[in-house]
């Protein structure tokens, strides 16, 4: 790159949206006078096709090597301008975006001079940062086409088939001797009006898996170790009986370890009396009873069963765990099956809430038609099973009738909670992912990342996440296959150039960065030196802000670049100014929303964008106070949302620590503010600005007045 820094500043009018408030020609003239700026231009509509091509001509004609765009908001328009400068031959990371519509003209509509001054300040800050910008590159990490699937139940098999059908290699590891998972224990599976033999469904799928040319199955095998990262895993698979080990080169992993019934030991006499069974055990019994046309009786009993009592919500919906999700469905299905044996068995279902969705309501009606009786017990008063000699009786208080009942029973069926497989205890350590106390894995994002872990390249399918129905499990299997197939089809994963970079010369090998990275993107080598796997790094900057030796920099958000913005913001009248650090995702979304809604607030703040509030280091905050800022604001996503999982929590604790430090240094800690603002919450951001200005006694300090209420934009 040319050594001389040549910055071009493009200021947009946005028709009258910016130019109607901000004196754009004045801002352009001001920009021309800034250091390194060789060109400043006003565009009526900078995002229009004709202006974009003009911009490209100007970049080429003037040999620009840095570009500052002052216009709307980077949240919507940064990709467009990045592409534009890139097409003009400039690295897209040499672009700095300054928001003078959402942050200036739309929110300071009645104070044209103040708005123009703020626009100048923001442009100056942008230029100061731009001078320090360095090229960045999209980072690619090669990914081959070998996928490991852990668990041979329906979710795992579905994933394997979907992966294999694309021509990728699937290695399916199952700890038991046969494929099929929990279905092997069940008699039937059902959904809406459809019902099928569980064994047949499992066997049919297993035979497809076993005969698939691209799928290799390891039964009676477990994962011994997993090392590496996406595209580059070394996995050791151990055959249990043969003690044989095999090492596999793996690119992606699907975790489908399934679930099992939690044994309700000690509850309702389970484990003591053979007449108390679980739903899974009942399905085995029903299978035998169906095959045998004789009396329906328990093994080693001569007594035919006349009265079956099903108790739902055993070990669930309490302090320890929630709803088992599928128990109501199972209880109704099996109650119907007992009735359909045609032996005149009396069936009672004792329940707390009947949780049957849409078409499941039809099976409920069917059960009622067949004579299954439903009794509801209170949440805090479970039924009791009494054993008097040969007699088994269930006492309960029926909530709906308000009476106590005693039901005779020769079979008590418990609908227990579920838990994840025991191998999860090892696996979560091997894969460095988390699981809850019931051994169910924690997905990357409850809403939008249900099929994966935070670590790239590892997908999550089926009941390993939470109990679910067969249909849902198969959907998750196919969906998880999609998640891991994307990098395998592309042949690589690609990360944005905003990544961490560690300078090992100052590193004291403390290991904090490795421990704190939410994406497992920092690995530690034999000498305890940390290394960033750049393709896995999401650029949040948490490691950088926390590094005690300050040896981690974040491309496009380096310490020096942020310091330059702080210094530039506070160049004039710092005692009237607030430096605000806002995260790109939600806080800036809130800022933009305030703009779109034309909420008017005082103009004292100069905002500095960071990808995540976790990027804001103590030093940055102290720097602003050192430069005499009236106040500092750190704004991030509203809890629990964070686009980097827990960055805002880290930021919150850092702000707390910084306040203590400020106090010691004799700076009023109340001058440091913290706000968590959703992207929809423009009012909250505007309110924060007003409150800060009031609290810091900046009202009428030349940077715009605190005025209330919305401007009547519709008039």
């Amino acid at each position: 790159m040319n050594d001389e820094i040549r910055i071009g500043v493009f200021v947009c009018d946005c028709g009258s949206n910016i130019a109607g408030v901000v004196n754009v020609p004045e801002v352009v003239e001001y920009a021309k006078g800034l250091e390194h700026v060789v060109l400043a231009d006003e565009g009526r509509w900078s995002c229009s096709v004709d202006y974009l091509s003009k911009m490209q001509d100007l970049i080429r004609d003037h040999g620009l090597n840095r570009v500052v765009i002052a216009s709307c908001t980077p949240r919507t328009h940064e990709p467009l301008f990045k592409k534009t400068v890139n097409q003009a031959g400039l690295n897209p990371y040499l672009l700095e975006f300054v928001s003078i519509r959402e942050q200036v003209s739309w929110v300071h509509m009645r104070e044209k001079e103040v708005a123009t001054q703020k626009a100048k300040d923001l442009v100056r800050m942008g230029v100061a940062k731009a001078a320090l910008l360095e090229e960045g590159d999209e980072i690619r990490l090669p990914v081959k086409t070998d996928s490991l699937i852990i668990g041979g139940g329906m979710a795992g098999m579905t994933a394997a088939l979907n992966i294999g059908d694309q021509g990728f290699n699937a290695f399916l590891v199952e700890k038991s001797a046969v494929l099929g998972g929990i279905l092997n224990d069940l008699e039937t599976v059902s959904h809406d009006h459809h019902e099928a033999s569980a064994k047949e469904v499992a066997a049919r799928t297993a035979s497809r898996v076993l005969s698939h040319p691209k799928i290799r199955v390891f039964t009676e095998s477990e994962i011994e170790s997993v090392e590496g990262y996406i595209g580059n895993y070394k996995v050791s698979v151990k055959h249990r009986a043969a003690e044989a080990k095999e090492s596999l080169d793996i690119s992606t992993i699907v975790v489908a370890t399934g679930m099992k019934e939690m044994a309700p030991e000690g509850l309702f006499g389970y484990g003591k009396d053979p007449r108390v069974v679980t739903q899974r055990e009942l399905e085995g019994l029903i299978r035998n009873w169906k095959a045998d046309s004789g009396d329906v009786r328990l093994p080693e009993s001569i007594q035919p069963i006349r009265n079956a009592v099903i108790i739902n919500c055993v070990n669930s919906k309490n302090e320890k765990r929630g709803c088992c999700s599928i128990g109501c469905h199972i209880s109704v299905k099996n109650a119907v099956a007992l009735k359909q044996l045609g032996k005149g068995i009396d069936v009672h279902i004792l329940y707390r809430d009947l949780s049957l969705v849409k078409e499941e309501g039809i099976s409920l009606e069917k059960a009622k038609r067949l004579g299954v009786k439903f009794l509801r017990f209170p949440d805090d008063r479970y039924p009791e099973v009494t054993f008097t000699g040969d007699l088994l009786e269930v006492d309960l208080f029926d909530l709906l009738i308000g009476k106590e009942f005693r039901i005779p029973a020769d079979l008590v069926v418990l609908t227990p909670a579920f838990e994840g497989d025991r191998t999860v205890d090892h696996l979560r350590g091997q894969l460095k992912v988390s699981a809850n106390s019931d051994r169910f894995f924690q997905e990357a994002h409850v809403k939008l990342g249900p099929l994966e872990f935070p670590t790239d390249g590892i997908a999550l399918a089926g009941c390993a996440k939470a109990p679910m129905m067969l249909k849902e499990s198969m959907e998750a299997g196919a969906g998880a296959a999609m998640r891991v197939s994307i990098p395998m089809k592309q042949g690589h994963i690609e990360a944005e150039g905003i990544v961490a970079d560690i300078d090992l010369s100052d590193c004291n090998q403390c290991g904090l960065c490795h421990k704190r990275c939410p994406f497992s993107a920092i690995k530690v080598d034999g000498e305890k030196n940390p290394h960033v796997i750049k393709a896995l790094c999401k650029g949040c900057g948490l490691c950088s802000a926390d590094c005690p030796k300050e040896c981690i920099s974040i491309v496009h958000y380096t310490d020096d670049q942020v310091y330059a913005q702080i210094d530039s913001a506070l160049m004039e009248n710092p005692e009237n100014k607030i430096v605000g650090f806002v995260c790109h995702w939600c806080a800036l979304g809130g800022v933009d929303m305030a703009g779109v809604s034309r909420l008017q607030y005082p103009a004292n703040a100069r905002l500095i964008r960071v990808m995540c509030s976790a990027r804001v280091s103590m030093k940055m905050i102290l720097r602003a106070f050192d430069r005499k800022a009236a106040g500092v604001l750190v704004a991030g996503c509203e809890f629990p949302t964070c686009h980097y999982i827990t960055g805002n929590y880290a930021a919150e604790s850092r702000v707390r620590r910084t306040k203590k430090k400020l106090e010691k240094a004799g700076v009023d800690p109340e001058r440091l503010w913290n706000v968590w603002c959703s992207a929809a919450d423009g009012p909250k951001f505007a309110r924060t600005m007003k409150d800060m200005v009031k609290d810091l006694k900046l009202e009428g300090k030349g940077e715009g007045k605190a005025r209330s209420s919305k401007l009547e934009v519709q008039s």
């Binding site: 009258s16 509509w45 939008l448 959907e475 299997g477 979304g589 809604s597 519709q714």
Partner: protein
């Protein structure tokens, strides 16, 4: 047949299906019959059970859809005809006019400010939501464009105060309108993006597979269900969601529609209308309403802990991971859950409060409760366009109006037509996470066909 796919519906399911397929390397046409993608989720305030802000997590995905080079977004577009071909489909679509040049409009909204007519918004009308005759679907709309109400284009809004009121010429006779204030405002901005002469645009595409992701709607209360049609302070769950939303018509103030006072005593009625005669209510459990109401009570308490919140319910549906804990959190925050069946709602004509008469299921006694604002959880229903679409695609609906899977136990999300797949609310009541799972699964099937 070429390697592209068509996704019908730009809600969270369609968006995720599109993003996955395009990252896989497949060309995607994402069709939505409204002017913006985003669907239901874009209107929500928070999502259960984590209370993540809805638009905060959805908007980045919407922008990504917009920026993916191999996704073509076709908004305001409907399917007209689908012909099955070997290994794929020939699809005829029509894009209804927005009366705005998509290349030129920058979403600056100068025209919206100029338009003199505000009408009650389709979604937020009861709680005071207004919409201009030229407007944007919502602030984060993708594509970020305005559109002209077609009734205004045809001249029907003159009596409502449209700016062309005095003009003697029948609107159908004019190609352009030199007097319309929106047109003038746009010209003043130097854009000329309002194109009132726009005609429906017909397109033909060839795709190898089709994913139906038409979503769900909240059920409208039938007639005067529990006072809805009669009293101003009875609203639906979705309307309450919009009240809570900082981006909604009240900027997040939980105020009652009648007098715009902050409601201090609020009740939710679950399963409102369920089990009534056909056409009066949803006949099935909609699965998600219990958690929606629970979320709303928690957020309400966050806004103002002194609000008294009561939920009347029958069976609590806390079906997913963390949902039961979510319900417990609501209870710990002081929300009253009453197992009860409300059967009548009356308004106090002076205070405009609502008196709810209900049967307490735990005691069997009849009781009443007076509240300032009443929220009806009416459940969710299929998209009303499903029937027409099923005909066009030659696939089946179930008796409730959701799309039918060929065999949910062996081939979930597949229809009777090979190459047409389903995901999200098209299959039934569903939450966001489940929609995303299905979107990935349907995407897998769609891209790997053939």
């Amino acid at each position: 047949m070429n390697d592209s796919i068509l996704i019908i519906g730009g809600g969270i399911a369609g968006i995720n299906c599109a993003l996955n397929a395009s990252r896989y390397g497949t060309k995607v046409y994402l069709v939505d019959d409204t002017p913006s993608i985003g669907g239901m989720m874009a209107r929500l305030d928070k999502t259960f059970p984590t209370n993540d802000c809805s638009i905060c997590i959805e908007a980045p995905q919407m922008y990504e859809v917009d920026n993916q080079e191999n996704i073509e977004i076709l908004t305001n577009t409907e399917l007209k005809k689908v012909k099955t071909k070997p290994g794929g489909f020939e699809v005829r679509l029509v894009k209804k006019p927005l009366y705005v040049d998509e290349e030129k409009c920058t979403g600056c909204r100068a025209c919206v400010d100029a338009c003199p007519v505000s009408l009650a918004d389709e979604m937020d009308g009861k709680i005071g939501g207004k919409r201009k005759l030229i407007s944007m679907a919502f602030p984060q709309a993708v594509p970020n464009l305005v559109f002209v109400d077609s009734r205004c284009r045809s001249g029907e809004m003159r009596s409502a105060g449209a700016c062309i009121g005095g003009c003697a010429v029948d609107c159908s006779q004019c190609r352009e309108c030199p007097i319309a204030l929106c047109v003038k405002a746009c010209e003043k901005e130097g854009k000329k993006a309002i194109t009132l002469w726009q005609a429906p645009k017909h397109m033909t595409l060839e795709v190898k597979s089709i994913v139906v992701a038409t979503g769900i709607r909240d059920a409208a209360p039938a007639g005067d269900l529990l006072g809805y049609g009669l009293y101003g302070n009875v609203i639906t769950g979705m309307e309450f969601e919009r009240l809570m939303n900082a981006g909604g018509p009240t900027a997040g103030e939980i105020i009652r529609p009648w007098d715009r006072k902050h409601a201090k005593k609020i009740a939710w009625i679950q399963c409102a209308g369920r089990g009534l005669a056909q056409g009066k209510g949803v006949p099935y459990c909609s699965k998600i309403c219990c958690m929606i109401a629970t979320k709303q009570t928690i957020i309400t308490k966050e806004h103002d802990p002194s609000v008294n919140a009561t939920v009347f319910y029958n069976d609590l549906k806390a079906y997913g991971k963390g949902f039961w804990e979510f319900y417990r959190k609501a209870k710990e925050n002081g929300v009253n859950y009453v197992r009860g069946r409300p059967y009548q709602v009356q308004e106090d004509p002076q205070s405009r409060n609502l008196i709810i008469r209900y049967e307490d299921l735990e005691t069997g006694t009849l009781k009443f409760e007076e509240v300032e604002l009443l929220v009806l959880s009416t459940g969710v229903v299929p998209n009303n366009r499903n029937a027409r679409l099923a005909k066009v695609l030659d696939i089946e609906l179930d008796h409730l109006g959701f799309f039918k899977e060929k065999d949910p136990l062996c081939a979930p999300l597949e229809t009777t037509v090979e190459g047409i797949y389903l995901c999200g609310g098209a299959t039934g009541p569903i939450d966001i996470a489940e929609s995303v799972v299905q979107a990935c699964a349907a995407g897998m099937k769609a891209v790997s066909r053939g």
